[in-house]
Point group: C2
Amino acid sequence: MSKTVSVVENIMSANDRLAAKNKERLDAAGVVAINLMASPGAGKTSLITRTVEALRDDLAIGAVDGDVATTIDADRIAASGIPAVQINTGGACHLDAVMLQEALPQLPLDELDLLIVENVGNLVCPASFDLGVHRSVLIASVPEGDDKPYKYPVMYRGVDAVILNKIDVLDAFDFDIDYFRRGVEALNPGLTFLSLSCKTGEGFEAWLTWLREETS
Amino acid sequence: MSKTVSVVENIMSANDRLAAKNKERLDAAGVVAINLMASPGAGKTSLITRTVEALRDDLAIGAVDGDVATTIDADRIAASGIPAVQINTGGACHLDAVMLQEALPQLPLDELDLLIVENVGNLVCPASFDLGVHRSVLIASVPEGDDKPYKYPVMYRGVDAVILNKIDVLDAFDFDIDYFRRGVEALNPGLTFLSLSCKTGEGFEAWLTWLREETS
């Protein structure tokens, strides 16, 4: 038992050391990086492509896309015309600092203002692995239900902003925004809370404003 | 590196041995057990409570409910009047055989026909841990998007049935059922494919028929 624990501790501290190196590298290039996390299907890729569309004249954006298999998301992001690197985790349930370290040299970092790292769709594991980025953002979505902050507290506790996506379908679901938001803010007082629809664009301007402020 | 791999192998084979013991125990009690897996918010708990409502006169059902925190789901299931045991994984991203082994003695196994094990909401990790149950069922849901079999193939490959839930909101989403189903069946030919709505009850009868057949 003690051997297993010590192996896990070594892996975690190695990850933290590499995360610190990633941050140094990003800082040296003047890039602000964001770790974007969510359940499968909450809208990570849609948020990225719509953000690129809206900000392509203001900010030079790059993306790193983590997936357990396939290049579906990376292809969608590359189609929006920005530099995008795919990390195939080979089945692993989260990105870690070494994966990001290997992806960074494949991007023109010196030309970028903002790097969005799309993590694996998973509401548990990505919370435990520091990547060395500057901000963490969690996308929740209306169809997942309003109890998610209560049921997955670690993820909600560790992020700088929570985006509630798919508000265009609020009427079709029993979703109590006040209950959801109380859960989020009890875990994480003072975070940025945004609600929007990547499909209709409702509420999207507040997200762009937050991004502009974080990268200015 | 080889030490880490050997530790992981030992953990996995220990899990498999305990899974075999769980199956022996379930068989001895004449209980058919199902591992229910899904993304967060796909409808695992709703499927269980509606199933209990529909079958309470035909089958004696028990439940084991795995969550990383809180008893929200176990409380919902217990409110439906069946024996339910909560497993709080303490942050872990999946159930494993030892967790189920510890839960089984808390249930009146000899009186049950069917045991439904609700896994942690996660489309990656639960696929790797055999629990010793008889069937595995994956719930997908329309709002997650039709590309999920392509993006999370390991989970889709290992199950006996896939249930597509929330078909009542098909019109509100760009979801191509044929594309989804082709993805599922390419990975897992011959599995049972069902589409239904836990909210409206549409398509639910076919799921009940499948359950009756599996437990007869």
